[in-house]
Assembly symmetry: D2
Homo-oligomer: 301 residues x 4
């Protein structure tokens, strides 16, 4: 299985037609929920709030702003959650009560400051890093998350006509944890990728060797993004979603950090050390839509 054998994650539990997974550095019980489905794509993203009060405060803001939402009973690993959708149609959840991971004896780490032992199997991802949604209008989602969740814009792409082609948002020192880039097929609610973090750039390179041995399709990388300076490798998991393995990047220490704005001309220079990424990277999402093929054909593929 891609997530367990190749990425090196562990199964944290099963419920209904879902299996829950975790990486060795995730402090909560589970970080990824895989559900049997007719097509690929992302079900929801869940953010844990800083405190029970913060959860109440955020729900209050959402309600005051007229955002439709509802409380759910929670899920394996976390308690009651407030569910709502961003303007592009992706489902979000907010919760505070979280089941701290209890390590079984066979996964007990040598170093007690680590949730479970380093797998020594496959890529060995440390933790869930970020989610990149596709959106018809990333600016709309940016404003929504700034106003309702208090997220902070750290970098963005602004085209010559003023369109925001991409926005990177952070909740804290980590320079982003949710991203929206433009869906060129103009479909709502799709996923670009989910990313898992590894400690070293060399782990990404070793990951490429492992993906190659397992016949996993790599789409782009290993390379370093200009935006956010993340060192990346994009693969397609067997269920049809794009998964990034990432390393590096940097923290933002400035409390008064101003968003870095990339212009259309700067983007045209190439994202990866000045080199271009493949057309499919800018077009394909999950679930797939027929418009992708039209766009890919226009790019000569």
């Amino acid at each position: 299985m891609y997530f367990r054998e190749i990425l090196g994650m562990e199964v944290a539990g099963e419920r209904g037609d879902s299996v829950y997974l975790r990486a060795f550095g995730d402090y909560e019980r589970a970080s990824l929920k895989l559900t049997t489905a007719a097509q690929s794509g992302i079900g929801h993203i869940a953010y844990r709030t800083h405190s029970p009060e913060a959860l109440e405060r955020r729900v209050g803001v959402l309600q005051a702003n007229g955002v439709a939402g509802e409380w759910t009973d929670g899920d394996l690993g976390h308690g009651a959650a407030y569910s709502f959708h961003d303007p592009d149609g992706h489902r979000f959840e907010l919760f505070y009560e979280s089941e701290r991971y209890q390590v079984p004896p066979e996964l007990r780490p040598a170093l007690k400051n680590q949730p479970h032992r380093y797998p020594g199997r496959g890529v060995g991802v440390r933790h869930l890093d970020h989610v990149n949604f596709l959106a018809v209008d990333p600016a709309e989602d940016r404003v929504f998350l700034e106003q309702n969740l208090g997220l902070r814009l750290t970098e963005q792409i602004v085209l010559d006509d003023g369109t925001e082609a991409g926005v990177w948002l952070a909740s804290n020192q980590k320079s982003y944890d949710v991203t929206y880039t433009r869906d060129q097929t103009r479909t709502r609610g799709r996923l670009h990728h989910v990313a898992f973090f590894v400690d070293q750039r060399e782990d990404v390179l070793r990951g490429a060797d492992i993906f190659l041995e397992h016949g996993i399709v790599m789409e782009s990388g290993p390379h370093k993004h200009a935006i956010q300076q993340t060192f990346f490798l994009y693969t397609w998991e067997p269920g049809g979603n794009r998964i990034e393995i990432c390393a590096g990047g940097f923290l933002i220490f400035a409390p008064d950090h101003e968003p870095v704005v990339w212009s259309q001309a700067e983007r045209a220079k190439g994202q990866a050390w000045g080199m271009q990424t493949v057309a499919s990277f800018h077009i394909k999402g999950s679930p797939p839509v027929p418009e992708e093929d039209v766009l890919l054909a226009a790019h000569g593929r």
Copy 2:
């Protein structure tokens, strides 16, 4: 010069008998102030607050707690600062107004999300990472910083007799930025080391090659600490202070993180992948004191 040629830092300015330096990822004008002095040691550590209001709030707390302190006019790169001492006698400053680094044309980076260009010279440190003070009683300083600055304990060493032999404190997601470890000579106000961050463990290894070529004394490392999992290399700069080059470690995402407590027995297992570090690492600080030689002799050196 050690800091410029070997670490790869840039000179940010000079004033009086001080020279100010910065690393390529430091967003403020300067991160290190070197002052001509009769002996080694640390003059002060300065923390930037999150906002002007936070600065006022902290000064209010210090005053309410009866901590002696005074306002200073600021320094090259930052505005008015409030100066006080921790119980062990190290001087702290708090400020908010900070001069954002203005990059000169010759240091302009290829990637605009980086303060200045990657030096491609020497070790290439990215930013000031943390300061490790020595203290007669680390617990006393821990309580002081928790109560007055709102710092959070993330890891600590507690000996069998209850003594806190080391404390690691954080202000945010980065798992520590100030540390106190016990001064075995029982002298107050000394420094153990100042640390600079590099992006990859491999940069630390390459750093060791560079230090060797320049005849810089390396004391310990490259190895991985059990505590905080930092990958480290300790050197002595020509002025007589211990400088760490570090990489790796991890972020703390749990808002309800509980401090990791290392017992005397766990510490005795060895800090570096289960191996021992040299005795001088646990004894020497700056400025040097005669008691160090007595202790080193007792360890057979």
Copy 3:
């Protein structure tokens, strides 16, 4: 200067309109000769023989096989050389007398088993690794080098029609030191690239950061070739020649090693962890020829 400041090489001497360079691990005085010229391209490649007797033996074989050639007086760093051309028109030299590098005090290494100190400047290449020629018919050159120099074929690309599209030849345990790939413009005597070795894949990644900061065009990589498993990065030096920075690969220990043959279908799978390299990589050489533009246009560029 690209070679000195960016690659981290040293100037080994100057003579006439040529400057000679060396990398820190090159045991001979110089490994690269740069000559002022009206156009880019490679002047010659020089092989040192294993002994004076081997030199005589090789010249005898060349003469017996009717290959035109002549003795020259040598060059800066080496003695008398026998000069001849391969069937595609590249000039070769063979020599034995070589000036062992005498390190000046300022470049004396900390470790005496290293010719000069690690530069700690730029990419820090260790030694000249290999030369990749373009040829109208690589098979013709392969047979020539096997028969006249006793080189050994280690890997090759054989298309469905039997054409050898690429040949990799070795003189010893290192798995190749000279390569011929097909010149799609059908021009004779051109260069594809010259490669310099670095110790770690991470040095190649760091090299990409350095090239980016210096505005050096990177064409392809960092990636791992399927053939020979070399980890690579291709750049264009200001003089118009393609320079590879490489790491990794493997040694050949089998005295009865059989060449690895890559079929057309295998090549079509993509060279770099299953991904494609850019069209220019397969078309451009030095000196440039007008046919390149026609071919590039056909690839949609």
Copy 4:
């Protein structure tokens, strides 16, 4: 099992009370033979000759020099071998006929120039790298191997009294494949360590993480040796032999390479980037002898 699960080797076969193992880059069927025994230590080292003629030639030299020896029928993976002992009493074998590894479908690599797939399990060693014997008088063994096997001395330690405390010998471009260092217990025929190669220094660091998780004792490293510049990590396998994981080093391209001689004073400076290695590293071998404890006690352990 240490070799299979932790180092990532594969079982190549079993015969009698021996199990044979191989690493993913070993081109022969097996590179390591583990035999049930009452004590630790090395049974023999086997060298493959360059050709059948070379085998005959070497046996002829041994016999002409009056070295006692005998032909054996071979072993799993190789044909008839000539067996003899070096002056210190270690058993050697020479053979030519070798069974080239036939990869089973489940281990077929993605890249056909690699014997079997990269394991993605444990440390992931590429090939057997070298053997380091202990000897009462390394010089005696050096002369023996130079004269009888034609090996070449590449580096050595010569003490002030002329004693050779260590000798490194090579058969080709790889800078050593057999080493003798002085047995301070003055016991004959012991082993210091067997070493396996990994591709990157980062693999050694990752290896340390994996050994720690498995409770494997690490004795020294990860560090870089001054001699040969090998990046190393020494562990003790459960059977009681020291195993090195190594990376880096360099090739020797000079046909007229002169041995690098390290003096007593140079050695005293510390081997690992100028730092000292632990006393046990210089004293312990396998099988263990009581004299080790006496020497260790004298070093304060």
